[in-house]
């Protein structure tokens, strides 16, 4: 897939090293075809998301029933006014995709932060302190693993009602398990290393040990998993929209557009196809980027 670059697993301080490390990363990015593509796609999407308000040619919510279901400009009946056509209420598809990128990214990134935080804390506690608390947390992990993500979210959202905030929280609450398991197992192995043992022997506090020795060892795997999970949550969000429990209008996300457009697939394909493409390309980019990051940062895991 991409070049495997050996990087020292332990972070070493010193600006010189940092610089060469940074250069190495850039070098490997340029060498890895997929990594570069992924990086480029993600950069573009983030750019679009951040500057969505300036980039969107039309008001994404402006309905115009006289212009509904207008095809993209290169087709008969299309107009350069609406490059990617209009949807069932006459809204500009391109503008909606641009604005929608904001919500999709927001949901993807924030829920990963929520999940990562929960997973990190519980994983550290579980791995570092062990004993009964480890047992409790691991049983909790097992319980979450036994319930399919989508089912858990479905029940949760049906109960508390779907909104941007609740979707982010629910996505976070269902996907933390991956991080917790990873963090726990890494913590377990680092904990037994000699330098940690000696640190403890000289009386370093738990907090110091975790901060100085354990976290730096976890961080690269953590970033890789988090990156890949942004892709997963974007897909999950669109599945939620299909089940009617995703982002609710007037807010717009790619998942919502795709799901709303599915009834027009046979008659006005552009309504669903473009947001679908946006999802696919973005997810593709994230996975490529994540895979490359994994090769660079963390050659241990495959």
């Amino acid at each position: 897939m991409s070049m495997q670059t050996q990087v020292e697993p332990n972070v070493v301080e010193g600006t010189k090293k940092d610089k060469s490390r940074f250069l190495k990363i850039i070098q490997s990015l340029l060498k890895s075809k997929t990594g570069f593509i992924g990086f480029f796609i993600v950069l573009t999407v983030v750019f679009v998301g951040v500057f969505a308000n300036y980039l969107a040619p039309h008001d994404y919510a402006q309905t115009n029933v006289d212009n509904r279901l207008m095809p993209p400009f290169w087709m008969e009946g299309g107009s350069p006014e609406h490059i990617l056509g209009t949807d069932n209420l006459g809204r500009d598809v391109l503008s909606r995709i641009i604005i929608g990128s904001r919500v999709s990214l927001l949901v993807g990134v924030s829920s990963v932060i929520v999940a990562g935080f929960i997973g990190l804390v519980l994983g550290l506690i579980s791995g570092y302190y062990g004993k009964w608390i480890d047992q409790v947390i691991m049983r909790l992990v097992d319980s979450f693993l036994a319930i399919p993500n989508i089912l858990f979210m479905l029940i949760f959202l049906a109960v508390i009602g779907p909104s941007l905030a609740s979707i982010i929280i629910v996505l976070g609450f269902t996907t933390w398990v991956v991080y917790a398991r990873m963090v726990r197992s890494e913590t377990l192995s680092v904990k037994e290393r000699d330098y940690v043992k000696s640190a403890r022997a000289v009386g370093a506090s738990d907090f110091i040990i975790i901060r100085r020795y354990i976290l730096p060892n976890i961080i690269s795997s953590f970033i890789v998993i988090a990156t890949l999970n942004v892709a997963t949550t974007i897909i999950l969000e669109s599945s939620l929209s299909f089940l009617g429990l995703g982002i609710q209008p007037p807010e717009v996300s790619w998942g919502l557009m795709l799901s709303d457009g599915r009834d027009y697939l046979a008659t006005s394909w552009w309504v669903a196809t473009f947001p679908g493409l946006a999802i696919t390309i973005t997810v593709l980019g994230i996975i490529f980027l994540g895979d490359w990051l994994r090769d660079v940062l963390d050659p241990k895991i495959k």
Binding site: R139, I147, L151, L265, K302
Partner: protein, 305 residues
């Protein structure tokens, strides 16, 4: 054996936690009465029904009563069907099982050859294509794939039935829809597991002895690379069952997935709980089985108990 027993014992608190999670999720704010009665019902009608269903009791009493019944296998009656929920869920199990199994077959058929091939041909053009395809498979939401397959194979080409169940032909499109999504993930996992084997000590030794590459791969690598496939398959059980929720809805497949989606929408709490339990047990059992099979196939592996 000790390992097995200690694992079985671990299931008990897990099931208890699941019951608690599900109970909390479903009962805390849900009011099924609002959904059961038509828009035109009066307040008095609502209150009467709420009382009759025991929904006015305090939460802990509801949970206590609920656990007492669950231990007897009684999840209460489905609000939608007015019949014991467990029976309704079990009735749907064969259909979902059929779909899950054939989807897994599709996934294995696609992912095992693809994963191994791309590992052997690492960093070649074929590897890139396979990797690209598997990422694509992951990047397309299930429902989208399903609808496209229907439009292409049923409406335009007329090869397979659109929806419903009954014949093997009905099974084809849903299995492909669900199977490809899982194949994508499995291909990636199998590829890395194969790579690991190819990089391992004994393969290198075999190579260094000057054995022919094809022989090395056939004789040594494949066998060892296939062992983790069992685990990889088991890991997908949860995703697979999750996928039935959407696939069954798209194809009107009469299984547990569609039942669950509708039960959630109608706040049919008894069915949601029963089905979640059954699913959890299935997932746990399949992981346990995979674990045992894995240990059996690969005696090198020792677990810390």
């Amino acid at each position: 054996m000790r390992y097995f027993i200690s694992n079985v014992i671990k299931i008990i608190p897990v099931l208890f936690l699941i019951s608690l999670i599900v109970f909390i999720l479903v009962r805390v704010t849900g009011d099924p009465v609002a959904l059961m009665l038509p828009e035109t019902a009066t307040d008095q009608e609502r209150e009467e029904l709420r009382e009759a269903l025991g929904l006015n009791d305090p939460l802990y009493i509801q949970y206590f009563n609920y656990m007492k019944d669950v231990l007897r296998g009684d999840f209460g009656d489905s609000l939608r069907y007015n019949q014991p929920a467990l029976g309704i869920v079990l009735e749907r199990l064969p259909a979902s099982f059929t779909l899950a199994l054939s989807s897994m077959a599709v996934a294995v058929l696609l992912s095992v050859p693809a994963g191994i091939y791309s590992a052997i041909k690492r960093n070649t053009f074929s590897d890139l294509i396979i990797t690209g395809a598997s990422v694509l498979g992951k990047a397309m939401p299930n429902f989208w794939v399903g609808i496209m397959l229907i439009l292409l194979f049923s409406v335009n080409l007329g090869i397979f039935p659109v929806s419903g169940s009954g014949t093997l032909a009905h099974l084809v499109l849903p299995s492909i829809t669900l199977g490809t999504g899982i194949a994508a993930e499995m291909t990636r996992l199998i590829r890395s597991s194969m790579l690991e084997v190819l990089n391992s000590e004994y393969i290198r030794t075999a190579r260094s002895k000057g054995l022919h590459e094809a022989f090395v791969i056939n004789k040594h690598a494949l066998r060892n690379a296939l062992i983790p496939v069992v685990t990889i398959m088991a890991l997908q059980t949860s995703t697979l069952i999750g996928g039935t929720l959407i696939t069954e809805t798209v194809f009107s497949w009469p299984g547990m997935g569609q039942l669950l989606v509708q039960a959630v929408n109608l706040r049919d709490m008894a069915v949601v709980q029963a089905a979640t339990f059954i699913i959890a047990i299935l997932v746990i059992l399949s992981n346990l089985t995979a674990d045992l099979v894995y240990r059996y196939l690969d005696p090198r592996i020792k677990y810390e108990d």
